[in-house]
């Protein structure tokens, strides 16, 4: 199911002169200005910065969840600017993974069903349940397959979310403050798990965090301040 592995200096995501401006009631707000960066396959990349500096916005743009106001974006060889929402969705399918600060597990689905969701949107998926269980056992939750999110701790919920993102063996994993809602001990366990899973899969990791310690563990680091890379 996985496309060919790419060689190490292959660019999986690229931003050239990207800006994002939002129209507010009275004036306009420049969230991001003139951002240019290249993300190479197989590496771990941190985007750090203070709260409100524009990290989440940049992540959304890189992942194709949002459209920039200026500049151009490329994701896995495709220029995003010319693609509409649905075309971008199809591009992400099975090749991009996400981890969110607030986990975003569906409350009415069990752990294994939540993981399976990522496979269910890919028409050619097979052995969905087995793959999902396997992904859960890789995050150490093989015993909790049938549990609902409300029956799990925050750390466990984030592990399920990790399993959900890795079950498709994505080329890129986008993580937005993945440990932001967790206590210190749990945070470092989740971070360890995330790094090791990416390494095993050969997935590129784009990690957004305001936690410098976490950022320091990545191969490449970008720092963002008031919407500009510094």
């Amino acid at each position: 199911m996985k496309p060919l592995k790419t060689n190490s200096d292959h660019i999986v995501a690229q931003a050239v002169g990207v800006g994002k401006t939002v129209q507010l009631a009275s004036d306009t707000l420049d969230i991001l200005q003139d951002i240019s960066l290249k993300i190479t396959a197989g590496r771990t990349v941190a985007i750090s910065g203070a709260s409100g500096s524009g990290k989440t916005t940049l992540l959304g743009l890189l992942a194709g969840l949002d459209q920039p106001t200026s500049g151009s974006l490329t994701l896995m060889g495709q220029t995003l600017n010319n693609l509409d929402e649905d075309q971008r969705a199809k591009l992400r399918r099975g090749r991009v993974g996400f981890v969110f600060q607030s986990f975003h597990l569906l409350p009415n689905l069990t752990a294994v069903e939540n993981v399976a969701l990522a496979l269910e949107v890919i028409p050619e998926s097979t052995a969905i349940v087995e793959n999902s269980r396997q992904a859960l056992s890789r995050v150490g939750l093989s015993e909790r397959c049938g549990h609902l999110p409300s029956q799990m701790s925050g750390g466990e919920q984030q592990r399920v979310a990790l399993a959900r993102s890795m079950v498709v063996a994505p080329e890129i994993l986008f993580a937005d403050e993945p440990t932001g809602n967790l206590d210190h001990g749990t945070s470092s366990q989740i971070a360890d798990l995330m790094f090791s899973l990416c390494k095993d899969n050969g997935s590129t990791l784009v990690l957004v965090t305001h936690n410098r310690e976490l950022a320091a563990r990545c191969d490449d680091q970008y720092h963002i301040e008031a919407g500009r890379l510094v």
């Binding site: 649905d86 969705a89 986990f103 569906l106 409350p107 949107v121």
Partner: protein, 833 residues
């Protein structure tokens, strides 16, 4: 797909939505099927009263051409000839109202014959065989027909065979009823009683489709002679029909209330579901799902659930109406025809419409969900508020109201009532909040915390108060108003419940007769004089010089009126023009419809021929008469002193509790010319009917209660996450568990007082409205219930409210604080926070 459905059923809101749909299907089907049957039955009953769908009534023998013509229009025909005659047996003789009928009589309805040898009474729709007669109970008793069945009628001898309990045409016009003798029309010639000159009524009864009936009526109108008239069944005086009609419209209104509440619950659930699904949709979008895929998979899940759930609801509704019908049939012996399929299809269609209206705006909004939602929690609130959803629910409520009320006026009244109730609720809550905000100064007590929670979440408070008010409303109606209402209603349809009419009491024997009744414990005997009179002139213009277009007018002009003399306006009569007689005033009071038909206006001078003496007086008032009140009613009433010398007899209506037959027997022995008309059976029937109506209505109130609980559940479910945050905040700020507990109990207690006041008040008000406009009697509002409902509501609401949030009390503030940063996937219906 089924898997998706099962996943959805884990969402409380999804289940709430479909529970609401189940109730909607149930309520619509039950009331639709039931009223369908009742209406069919009423149609049949109307015709049954006449024995036909229509008839030509003539004072002279009818030309065969009419029957031939009716046949050409595809109508069935039967004939009857009615006249008064002496029935003579070995024991004695009695004046009987003889009706000779063709063998297919009656075309509609049945003749109910008394049981033979302890069997059940038997319904037949054939005439007595040639040579035999059937007789009303009174004649059977008076002439002792059971032991001497040979009976002479004119020149022929006939044999008594069966006793008649009820027969068509007996329900209308109580005054002209002499005990009935039913014979075969083929025996009529032999009796020699009816010649073209004799006073008899000749009728051609017809039955068939509505269209043929109308066409036939139009065809014969130009060729009818002045002494002939065409009638279609007149419903106004059918007490049973009116009673059922009232119960049915009451049922419709209460069911409507339940359905509206169910829709509100569904709308709340849909909002909550939407709040949860925003995340799911955004997530799947992240994972690569397209818009149309999302839409399709959602639509599929809903459609998969809609049809089975609707059908299940309709099935339960079918069973409910089936049991109701069985009970009513058993209790009242009113047959209900099997229901048609139409209400089932309509209910199913309505269920689909309801789901589509509730879910469609939300499904359509799927397109607007930005994928970035997941990364940016604060955007969600904007997407959550779905104005088109509110509009579509509003439109839905209007459609459902018209669908259920069927009648524009009623629908309008109900909608106004709903709007008024909602406005009252909103206004009361808001103004109380406004006042309280100004009055209450911050202080560190649970009381203040409760009040502040109430006041600062006015959206949530309004929703909660409304939901609780709806519950209190249903409870108060169910508990207090319903019983009062039905009790008073039963009393009002039969105020002193006269069950025996006595006609033809002679003037000289009134005192003796009254004392006979006195010995039976019947003390207050109101005797109405009956004076026969015919209108001869209006404003000195001879009646014969006037032309009357209307059959009905001709009919009335050509017949004697039964006048009475009264010093006081009878109960249930209302003056619509002019004034009731002042002392010494000479005048006539005329029933308003009669006045209209005859072209009489207030002040017109009316000349009446009373036993050969011409009496002239002005029309001094026009009256509205309540014909179904089971008392003697009169078209024309004369002022005291106007007809003092006119020959008269008397009638009275009395209530005899026990041994009515005994009394009837005794009266007919001592006063053989007095006719006793026993209404006991009819009254008993109406009583059972209204009692059954009361039971049916209770069931519907339980519906209302269940749907109100559903709304409450929806509201409580929707506010959980906001409450969680509040509790966490209070705790983080240092409030103890006990403080939080007390604050919550107090908040709900305040809400309870508010809900009790509004719900209780609305229940009392609607009881009053129902009494006035649906049941048409004066109802004194039991205000003390307002106090009871408020006290009760404080307790009930505090308990329910506390129970619903108790599980949140134990949650640690740390965990909740962590959650504050993330968008919990729950939604508040009001968006209040």
């Amino acid at each position: 797909m089924l898997k998706d459905l099962i996943r959805h059923t884990r969402l409380a809101e999804f289940n709430l939505l479909f529970l609401g749909l189940l109730l909607v299907g149930m309520a619509l089907a039950a009331v639709g099927l039931f009223t369908d049957r009742v209406e069919q039955s009423m149609q049949a009953r109307t015709s049954a009263l006449l024995g036909a769908d229509g008839m030509i009534d003539s004072t002279r023998p009818l030309d065969d051409a009419y029957a031939t013509l009716a046949g050409q229009f595809g109508l069935q025909v039967a004939r009857s000839v009615s006249f008064m005659s002496m029935a003579i047996t070995a024991t004695g003789s009695r004046l009987a109202g003889v009706r000779a009928v063709s063998s297919n009589y009656p075309l509609r309805g049945e003749v109910l014959l008394a049981a033979v040898d302890g069997d059940e009474p038997e319904s037949v729709s054939v005439a007595p065989a040639q040579g035999t007669v059937w007789s009303a109970t009174q004649l059977v008793i008076d002439l002792n027909l059971e032991s001497s069945p040979e009976l002479q009628l004119g020149d022929s001898f006939l044999r008594f065979e069966r006793e008649i309990l009820l027969e068509p045409e007996s329900g209308t016009g109580m005054l002209r009823l002499a005990p009935r003798l039913l014979m075969n029309i083929d025996d009529l010639d032999q009796t020699g009683l009816v010649t073209s000159a004799s006073r008899a009524r000749f009728r051609l009864l017809v039955a068939g489709s509505k269209e043929s009936l109308t066409a036939f009526g139009q065809a014969i109108e130009p060729i009818l002679k002045p002494y002939q008239s065409w009638h279609v069944a007149d419903l106004r005086r059918d007490e049973v029909r009116n009673t059922i009609g009232r119960v049915v419209s009451y049922l419709r209104v209460t069911v409507l209330l339940a359905v509206v509440l169910a829709i509100v619950a569904m709308a709340l659930a849909a909002q909550g579901l939407w709040g949860r699904q925003i995340h799911e949709i955004a997530l799947l979008r992240c994972l690569g799902q397209t818009h149309s895929q999302t839409l399709k998979s959602l639509a599929r899940v809903y459609m998969l659930a809609v049809i089975p759930v609707s059908l299940l609801g309709i099935g339960i509704g079918y069973l409910l109406q089936h049991f109701a019908a069985v009970i009513i049939q058993d209790a009242t012996a009113i047959p209900l025809p099997p229901p048609t399929w139409l209400p089932v299809w309509l209910s199913l269609l309505m269920c689909i419409v309801v789901v589509v209206a509730v879910m469609m705006p939300i499904l359509l909004a799927v397109k607007r969900v930005p994928t970035m939602t997941l990364l940016r929690a604060e955007q969600i609130d904007g997407i959550r508020r779905n104005r088109s959803a509110s509009l579509s629910v509003l439109a839905l409520v209007i459609v459902v109201t018209f669908f259920l009320a069927r009648n524009l006026w009623l629908a309008f009244a109900v909608l106004t009532g709903l709007v008024f109730a909602a406005a009252l609720l909103w206004f009361t809550v808001r103004s109380l909040i406004g006042v309280a905000k100004r009055l209450v100064a911050p202080r560190p007590t649970a009381w203040y915390a409760a009040l502040k929670a109430l006041l600062s979440n006015s959206g949530r408070s309004t929703w909660l108060a409304s939901a609780f008010a709806a519950i209190i409303f249903a409870l108060v109606l169910l508990g207090a108003v319903r019983e009062d209402l039905f009790e008073e209603w039963q009393n009002s349809i039969l105020p002193d419940a006269p069950n025996l009419f006595l006609l033809n009491i002679q003037a000289h024997e009134t005192a003796a007769f009254a004392s006979l009744l006195n010995t039976k414990g019947i003390t207050e005997v109101k005797l109405y004089p009956i004076i026969r009179g015919r209108i001869t002139a209006i404003n000195n213009q001879k009646i014969s010089d006037r032309t009357f277009e209307d059959d009905d007018a001709l009919h009335r002009i050509n017949h004697d009126f039964n006048l009475t003399i009264l010093a006081e306006l009878p109960v249930d009569n209302k003056i619509r023009a002019g004034n009731w007689f002042k002392a010494g005033e000479k005048g006539f009071s005329v029933e308003q419809d009669t006045a209209k038909i005859l072209g009489l206006a207030l002040g017109d001078r009316l000349t009446m021929d009373i036993a050969g003496v011409l009496i002239e007086a002005p029309v001094s008032s026009l009256r509205e008469v309540k014909w179904d009140n089971m008392r003697p009613n009169f078209y024309i009433i004369a002022a005291p002193g106007l007809l003092d010398d006119a020959p008269r007899n008397y009638i009275t209506s009395i209530y005899v509790e026990q041994q009515r037959n005994e009394l009837v027997r005794q009266i007919s022995q001592s006063y053989p010319h007095i006719t006793a008309l026993d209404l006991g059976m009819l009254l008993a029937r109406i009583r059972t009917l209204s009692a059954q109506g009361g039971n049916a209505v209770s069931v519907v109130f339980v519906f209302t209660l269940v749907t109100a609980l559903l709304v409450l559940f929806g509201v409580l479910q929707g506010q959980r996450s906001a409450r969680e945050l509040e509790i966490a905040l209070l705790k983080t700020l240092g409030a103890g568990r006990e403080f939080v507990r007390r604050a919550i109990v107090l908040e709900f207690a305040f809400l309870g007082a508010l809900a009790g006041f509004i719900g209780g008040g609305m229940a009392l008000l609607s009881g009053w409205l129902l009494a006035k406009y649906v049941f048409e009697f004066a109802y004194s509002i039991p205000w003390q219930w307002l106090v009871f409902s408020m006290t009760g509501a404080v307790i009930v609401v505090a308990v329910i409210g506390y129970t619903s949030v108790r599980s949140l009390l134990g949650v640690l503030p740390v965990r909740l604080l962590a959650q504050m940063a993330m968008p919990t996937s729950q939604i508040h219906p009001s968006g209040g926070r």
